[in-house]
Each structure stands twice: as C-alpha cells, then as structure tokens.
Symmetry: C2
Subunit: 221 residues, 2 copies
Amino acid sequence: MTTASTPMQEAERPLRKDAARNRELILETAAEVFAEQGLEAGYDEIARRAGIGVGTVYRRFPERSELVQALFETRIDEMVAVGEEAAAIPDAWDGLTWFFEKSVEKQVADRGLKEVMVQTLSESGHMTVGRERIGPIVESLMQRAQADGALRKDVEVTDLGMQLMLIGSLSTPEQPDLWRRYLALLFDALRARPGITPLPLEAPPDEAMHMLMCNLQGRRT
Amino acid sequence: MTTASTPMQEAERPLRKDAARNRELILETAAEVFAEQGLEAGYDEIARRAGIGVGTVYRRFPERSELVQALFETRIDEMVAVGEEAAAIPDAWDGLTWFFEKSVEKQVADRGLKEVMVQTLSESGHMTVGRERIGPIVESLMQRAQADGALRKDVEVTDLGMQLMLIGSLSTPEQPDLWRRYLALLFDALRARPGITPLPLEAPPDEAMHMLMCNLQGRRT
DNA sequence: AGTGAAACGGAAGAGACTTTCCACTTACTG
DNA sequence: CAGTAAGTGGAAAGTCTCTTCCGTTTCACT
C-alpha cells in the first residue's frame, strides 16, 4: 500500500473519478464517525458506513494521521474566514476577542473538529499549513490590539495559540457554554493595564507548538 | 480473574507476602514504564521489567484504570503535604500561588504523575479520593486569599482545579519552565482588583470535573 | 510436618485492528 | 474500440494486546 493520498500526489497525477469519489466519501464519513466516536474509531466502521471496502480506506489513508490531516485541511478555510471577519471589526480588541469566541464556538459545536485540530497540531510535520495560513491572521489581529493599547505587549501568537486550543476543552454537556467563563478569565489576563508585571520567560517558538500539543494529549514525542 | 486489587479487598483479607511484594513491584515498575512510555505502555513491558509473569500483572490489576488509580493514590499524600505547607505561609496570596507552583512543578518533573492524574481525574468513580482530600485544602487556601482581598471573589475551587491540570501541559523539553509564563498569566487573571468584571456563568460543580478531564483528553464519555 | 488454598509463570487462545493479496471492475489513452 | 493501468472488495494473514488456563510453587494455618 503505497498510494497515500497527499495533496502533492494529487497535484502530480489526478485520481480517477471513482477513486476521487471514494476519497470524498471517506472524508465525509470519517468526519461523521469521528464526531460520534472520537478519533480512535475503527476504519471498519468508516468503511461499512461509507459502503466501500476496508482495504480501500486503508489504501487511501494508510495512516490515521493522514486521514486526520486531510480533515484538518477542510477546516482551515473556515478558520481563515473567521479571522478575516474579525479583522473587519473596527475595534481591535473586539475583533481579537470575537475571533477567539467564534473559534472556540466552532470547536465546541463540532467535536470532530476539536479533536482533529488537537491531533493535527501535535504532528509536527502537519501543522505547517495551519501555521502559515492562520498564524499571520492571528498575528495581525494581535498587533492591531497591541497598537491600540488594549492587548498587553508581552504576549505573542504562540502564547495565544495554546490557550485557544485549551479553552475548547472547558465545557461539559451540562454546561456547554462553560468555556465562556474561562475565556473571560483569559481576556482579563490579556487586557493591558498600567503597572502590569511582564510575563516571565520568552514565548515559545512556532516549532514548539506540536510539542505542547503532545503534552496536552499526554503522548510521547 | 476476579482478584482485583482494591483497598477494600485488602482491608478484608491481607495479601500473602509474595503477592504483596509483587503488587509493590508492579506499582514501582509501572510508574517507571509509564513515565518513559506513557500510560499506554504494554503490560508485557511492565511484567518483563519487574521480572514477573504477565498473567500476574493482569491478575493483580485487571483493568489499566485500576493500576493508574493505585498509582494516583500513592501521589495524593505528596499533594496533601504541599497543601499543608502552603497553608503555613503567612501571606494568603503567596500561599495559594506557592501551592500552584509546587503542584505544577511536581507534575512537570514527573511525567508519570501528570498522566496518572489526568487519567484518574477523568474516571468519575475514581476521583472521589482526590476530591475529598485535596479539595478542602485548595478551598481553604482560596478562602484565605479571598478574605485578604487578594483573590477575586468570583472564582471557586473547580475553576482552579482545571487550570491546575492544564498548566502542567504547557512546557516542552526545550523550555521546561514555560509553564511558569502561563501560570503568571493566570495569576494576573486571578488577582482581585477594583472594577473587575465578574466572570460569566457559574463555576462547574464538583461532579463536572471528570467530564472536563475527558474533554481535555478528547475522549468519549 | 502436613495440608489446603492462594498465587505463580507463561503458553495457548481470543479479540480486534492493520496489512496483504488477487481476481475482478473501472477509467483513461492512443 | 482495445489495451493497459489504476482502483476495487473483502477474505486471509499478520500483529499486538488481553484473557484463560493448568501444572507448579509458595504461603499460612493447624
């Protein structure tokens, strides 16, 4: 099985119609199954529900991480759109906080999305796309708010990246909006104000993000 | 295999010498293996390294969660001791923040501890011991700081419990102390000050804790 | 010291996920 | 349209973790 479905290979040689159709079907079905059962759901269930052979699923996405990555990429466009809307909000602090709220809302509403993002961001080789497309947007939102004197100057993109991922975990079926409480707490912390003590240490480099996500999941790296 | 090793059964009928010795050996070895490989490390490796039969490991701890719980209980005493030291610090805010720092220090220094705690706190039936023994200590530390006017009045024990678990994830091998940055950010948020906007929503009840931990791990509940 | 029960080791068996395989089907190209 | 290559389904095989089992050993009690 060497026909891993990667964007590069697709650029080189397009899939046959039936193969492309099956790939799409796998992704749609996986999104559904993962949302119900989590990312550890078996390929058997995806195959059965999609009405194709399990060998086909494995052939198209030999590693689970590849399937997750492909799903991740379908989600990036959504996040980028949220970022662009946030940038259009006149007040910089409101734009930044709105971006945070909308991002977490999407995570919480779509359990599949949440896990896909966490899993993808822990694979060091896979987070490049996310970082290149979403990183600049967050950077821009932050700089705008810092220039306005609303956001403390000692926080950076990577500082906020982690918080964004963590906050989405802070809700339960009984209190689906609980994360808003902790987001408000985070906003209190991020708000610039006179006499604030600068944060210790440097913000982590971009490349540290995947290590942090591994820690979050308690995985070995 | 019905001889699960639980504290209740041990109170009823003590283990034979050899069995008790093996149980201790399993726990010591598991702590070591888990710290190296994570909680998903195989029983085979624990058995091999301990020099006993894999059937014995499974017999003593039929479910992995039981092994994790037993390890958790060896750790509670340490956390309680930290809490008691914190309570002895004259300044209430210093005592509370010191407790946080020491707790996270222990988590970060012992990878096994971190995962054991996260795993245990996600099993709803297993967190009773932790909550009963550590909850009152944190409660006391918080009330002292709130009475002093140092800690904002709208946060509760469960609010801080989650944060405590999350912060330990925020470090990498390259930046082992990175969590201190985010702890400082959290302290800024927790610090009482005039004109602060109260946090929205109610703090989660005790029982929500395990749901939150499941979310953190991206697991189905 | 004798006895019965607890506990043992580790191989065989069971279960579940992943990989391989091959006759057959579909699509593409000249 | 024919030939060839891509792609298929799903069973068989492989792999790994967990469970069962039984002859043997160890322990505790009388």
